[in-house]
């Protein structure tokens, strides 16, 4: 069963705008990761944030983590048409470090030129 819930399920924006996606989870975690998937292909790893971190940046990506609320957000700034994809959060819980990842349902992002 899925642990994470992502919000919104779908998001449509114009090129140049920012996109924010949210993820909630249920258990205590070791880390939380965000992945991108284009058109039902393989997942591409975007960023990993550990449970003792609150914010992390990578290029146009900013991830925040609030372990007290068991939630995370992914912000993509200055979006491009090439950012159109499905985005998933995945948690690595403290009882299964390096083991299974538990994925959310995903947010489908559409960036219109």
């Amino acid at each position: 069963s899925q642990q994470g819930e992502e919000d919104p399920q779908a998001l449509s924006i114009q090129e140049g705008e920012n996109a924010t996606m949210n993820c909630s989870y249920k258990t205590s975690i070791n880390n939380l990761q965000w992945y991108r998937q284009n058109s039902g292909r393989g997942l591409v790893h975007l960023i990993l944030i550990r449970s003792n971190e609150r914010e992390k940046h990578s290029g146009r990506l900013r991830v925040t983590l609030d372990t007290s609320k068991k939630s995370s957000s992914l912000l993509i700034t200055a979006s491009r048409a090439a950012d159109t994809a499905s985005y998933f959060c995945a948690t690595d819980d403290i009882y299964n470090q390096g083991g299974k990842l538990i994925f959310g349902q995903g947010t489908e992002l559409s960036v219109k030129p």
């Binding site: 880390n31 990993l48 299964n96 390096g98 083991g99 990842l101």
Partner: protein
């Protein structure tokens, strides 16, 4: 640096048949995990192999089995296929050494299985 590779890319089978999917991990990685992704859903963990043994297993029936070879590559076998087994099967590799648990899993392009 070779990434994770999977074969075949697409497969069509009929109910009751058996299927074998293959995965080669990213260069230098020793751990392989398999996931099933139904249409419109997030991936679900099937199992993980390390040192040629199944280390963790998700909520999948015994019809799903696997193997890891000495070169770290892996196979996923599904017996007695059901219509509901139609999905994208993803392989992910990571590095697990003594005292170090590789946190990031790198995914292959997947094998799309259709069961008719």
């Amino acid at each position: 640096d070779a990434g994770v590779t999977q074969s075949p890319t697409h497969l069509i089978k009929t109910r009751g048949q058996q299927v074998t999917l293959r995965c080669s991990p990213k260069s230098g990685h020793d751990t392989v995990s398999w996931y099933q992704q139904a249409l419109g859903q997030g991936p679900q963990f099937i199992f993980q192999y390390y040192e040629e043994e199944e280390r963790q297993r998700g909520n999948f029936p015994d019809r799903f089995s696997g193997h890891q070879f000495p070169n770290y590559s892996s196979e996923l076998n599904v017996n007695a296929l059901l219509l509901g087994d139609s999905a994208l099967y993803l392989c992910a590799s990571s590095l697990r050494r003594a005292g170090i648990l590789g946190e990031t899993q790198y995914f292959g392009p997947g094998t799309r299985l259709l069961v008719l």
